[in-house]
Amino acid sequence: MRRRLILALAAAVTAAACSSTPQRYEWGSYQESVYLLTAGEGQVDVDAQIQAMNATVEQARQRDRPVPPGMHAHIGLLYSMRGELDLATAAFETERELYPESAGFINGMLTRMRAQP
C-alpha cells in the first residue's frame, strides 16, 4: 500500500515535470462523435451529433480557440447523412479554408457531391 502511494507520487511529479502541455485546440465532443459514428453501426442519432458538434464550434468561438483539423469536414459528413447538401458543402468549404492541407480531398468530395442527382 505504501509502496503504491510512493510510486503514484513519483509518477505524478514526473508527469508534471515532463509532459502535460495545454491543448491547442477546442476538442469538445469531436472524438466522441467519431467513436459513435464509426462504431455505431448506423445506430447513431445524427441530429444529436450535429447539435453536439455545433455546440463545440460555438464554444471554440467563445473561447477564441481554433477547432481541430478535420472537425468541419466531420460536420459536413453529418449534414450529408441527413441529406442537407448545402450545409454539408458549407462545412467542407470551411474545413478547406481553415486547413489548406485538405484542399485536394475537399475539392474532390465537392465535385462528387455536385455530380450526384
Binding site: A11, A15, Y30, Q31, T38, A39, P69, A73, F105
Partner: protein, 233 residues
Amino acid sequence: MRGILRLGATLAGALALSACASTPPFDYSIWLQNPPRSILVLPPIDNTIEPLACYGCLSTVTQPLAERGFYVFPVAVVDAMMRENGLPTPNDMHSVPLAKLREIFAPDAVLYLTVSEWGTSYQVVSSVSSVAIAGRLVDARTGTEIWRGQHRLAQGSGGGGNLIGMLASALVTQVARSVNDPSRQLSSVVSGEMFANPRNGLLPGPYHDGHEAALTAERDAMAARAAAADGSP
C-alpha cells in the same frame, strides 16, 4: 468516474517516467528529408477479438496527432468514404495503393495502425484492462517508412482495501464500460504516449509551436553524430 480518472492520471505519470528514462531515441534522418504536414490515418487493423477495438482506437488518435502539430484528415469521413467504395474492413483499406490514396486525399503521410490488445478481463472483484497499439508512418509519395512506434499499457482497477469497496469497484468498472469504455480512455493515453513521446514519438508538425526548433535541433544532432563518425578512425 472520478476514481477511473485518477487511475488514468497515475498511469500517465508512470508512462512519463518510463518514457523519460529508458526508451532509445528514434532515428529521424529519413523524416527530416521530407517532414510531413498532413497525416491520413486509416482505421486500425484489429488483431484482438474485441469488436470495438478498431473504432475505439481510431477515435483516440486524432487528438494527440493534431496536438503534435499535424493536419489529420477527418477519420470518420475517411472511413465512411472507404466503406461506401467497397472497402468494408481495415484490411481492405490498408491494401489500397498509395497512388490511389494520394489521388483521393493528397496526404503527405499515411499512418497504418494495428491494435493487438484491447479490453478488460473481469475477475471476481477486480478487472485488468490492457491496450496495445503499433503504428507505421509512410511517406505518401515514396512509400518510405519515416516513423514507427508501439506502446502498451495495462491498468488494474479495484483491489483497494475492503471487500465492499472492491465489489463496488468491479461494478462501477462494468457500468463504465457500457457508457464510456475504459479501454478508450486507456487508448488515449497509449496513443498520446506513442505519438508525443519526445524521444521516439513524432517530431512536432507545422502547427506545433516547437516545430522549427525541434527540426533544427534534430538536424544539428544528426550533423554532430556524422561529424563524430568522420572523426573516429
